[in-house]
Symmetry: C4
Subunit: 210 residues, 4 copies
């Protein structure tokens, strides 16, 4: 049941709607590109230490790779959610901004992770940031669907809830693991790549039929 | 009464008009994303101090959150103003550039605020920057309406004047408060979130009827 | 007389053409926003020195303002040139890239100017950078017109040559002035704002009629 | 022979398709603009050393120029590849992201090169980065063509394979040269500019006819 909100139809406000989507895309593309600023090399390194110092950046490079994949994945989910939206209101715009606010923080969290990879606080900061993106994103999608702004099927809805729960669960687990051994946490995140395997999610989100 | 200016109709120059809007959107999205550069962590922090050092960034994080919300809000106002514009001339473009010039300064002011939150000079810098955005934005809107470039209703006009006065007033008040206790100033800014409550503004800007 | 080149008509390649224009706009908007990185404040400044240190940034702020105005102006000229282009080829794309390559350098030159405003080398770096933008831009426009890619009137052509000569002249003059007193150079640049006064340029570029 | 994939036609998903292209363009334009951050000047340089310190940036400037040209060239190739694409699927999007992931690293590699130009490790880092872009780009194009997503002619295909082999070869050669004299490596890269000479490539990629 749609709540009482001042929603505007997408087809009648195509210009404004695409400005919102284009703004989000812009923020995504800048955030993903700023990740590179987390990898740096000091000036004035002596000649025989340069190779070593460059090698020392491999943790920063790993954090870059993970974060690039993560932001790219978020962008695709955002992308696919907004292709279902056919009306928007002030609240959707505000939630989208809150969502982007957490996405833009990723370059910072990623830099922390790259610099202090094997330590609990950086795993917590990184996991908290990514979980916030997932939960706000899921909240935005849930809200839009229940306000009748997005035309997702029940199947899509269940899938996206399962996905958000799965991703948050992985990050929560990684924090628990980090309490014992922070260096292992990033390996837990590898599980995220299997989220894409639609089969598992489908099976989990399929309603039990007789 | 429209002044004598070489205005070009929006519908006949849609490509050029959207280039101006897209340029503004680009600047907004970059400025909002650069805010994250105000939150940093030094390399080489000893293991037992990392959590503390990350916690020390909470002021920078707060400045980030405030500035993100503020730029997002400015973007929405800019967005909504330009949806009313149906012709443009050199002066509107120049005023828009001046406006963007102050928007782009926000990441700097925000960094100052995040670093020196509880001190008078940073409250002054931040408030001055944001007031400049509001006043130039209001000036641009006023000018465009009086030159017949924007088709706002008298109601919209009054509302936007009241809003600009309200926002500038809040920042002026926060500077006065900061003279006594700079740490309190950001709490004054919370009032800005109530600006969205259309009811108050409507009531204030409604012409007195018998 | 058009040279032999593989030109593609704009109307038949609208998507590709707008990608080039959008790419240029993107580069302009990022370059103009990166200017803010030239204004910074160190961490850990004692409370009683903060106001002074912020005040010390006024030269950086001035450099920011000049460079913002300059890039905005270049963007408008670029904008207006590309609205005349109705076909493009590899050389136009390459020249446009060379042009953008000098535009992107401006944040660096501007930082040098903001940091070392009153000194000859920074005036030279800044003037050289801006002159390069103007000359490459003029070269690109000249080349496109002579290859029949842009449909400018003879009047527009003369105007743009005069403008390029005027701007380059101002920068050359400012270097000469800086040889004697580098602090005076930026004041010479104020002349640039009068370039907009179409009357002077028109008068200079009008062919002498009997 | 097209593999079994869930491909979506471009004409039926024009909005989503352009979002992917626009996102890529955004990333390209930000990466190319971030190159300027590789050229910096320290604050507090004494008056009589400024010119020298600015001159010391000529290696960084050279690295900037090379990288700007290289990213611009990659953008053009990407541009021209996507103009051939008329359907897309998840794998094309993923490969495009991987491709962009290596493009975004260029500002880092370029900074390393600018700072430590004449040394083996920086030549290796730079060459490895650029070779990765070329190979992933070629892999993406090959994959898309074989899945029937891009409608390239056999001629275009051969040309692009030859081009990728040529570019990778040049970078491999420059690493070999750098083993003996790292300062010479950048001169090997000059060969890349002759890749544009279609004649050579055409001749090499032309099938032998009787």
């Amino acid at each position: 049941m749609a709540r009482e909100r001042l929603a505007r139809k997408r087809e009648e406000n195509e210009v404004e709607f695409s400005r919102i989507v284009a703004f989000s895309d812009g923020v995504f593309s800048i955030a993903i590109t700023l990740l590179v600023l987390g990898i740096t090399i000091d000036p004035g390194i002596p000649k025989d230490e340069l190779a070593q110092k460059l090698w020392d950046q491999h943790e920063a490079l790993l954090a870059y790779a993970i974060s690039f994949a993560v932001i790219a994945r978020f962008w695709l989910v955002h992308h696919s959610f907004f292709s279902e939206v056919d009306a928007f209101d002030t609240r959707l715009i505000a939630l989208n901004m809150l969502y982007l606010g957490f996405v833009v923080l990723i370059p910072f969290s990623s830099q922390v992770l790259g610099e202090y990879g094997g330590q609990l606080p950086s795993v917590v900061v990184y996991s908290a940031n990514l979980t916030a993106v997932v939960l706000v994103g899921q909240g935005m999608a849930w809200d839009a669907r229940h306000a009748g702004l997005a035309k997702s099927s029940a199947q899509t809805e269940r899938e996206s809830v399962v996905r958000a729960a799965f991703i948050s669960g992985v990050f929560l687990l990684s924090i628990v693991v980090a309490l014992f051994n922070a260096s292992l946490a990033p390996y837990i995140w590898i599980a995220l790549f299997f989220e894409g395997r639609a089969h598992v999610i489908e099976r989990l989100s399929r309603p039990r039929s007789p």
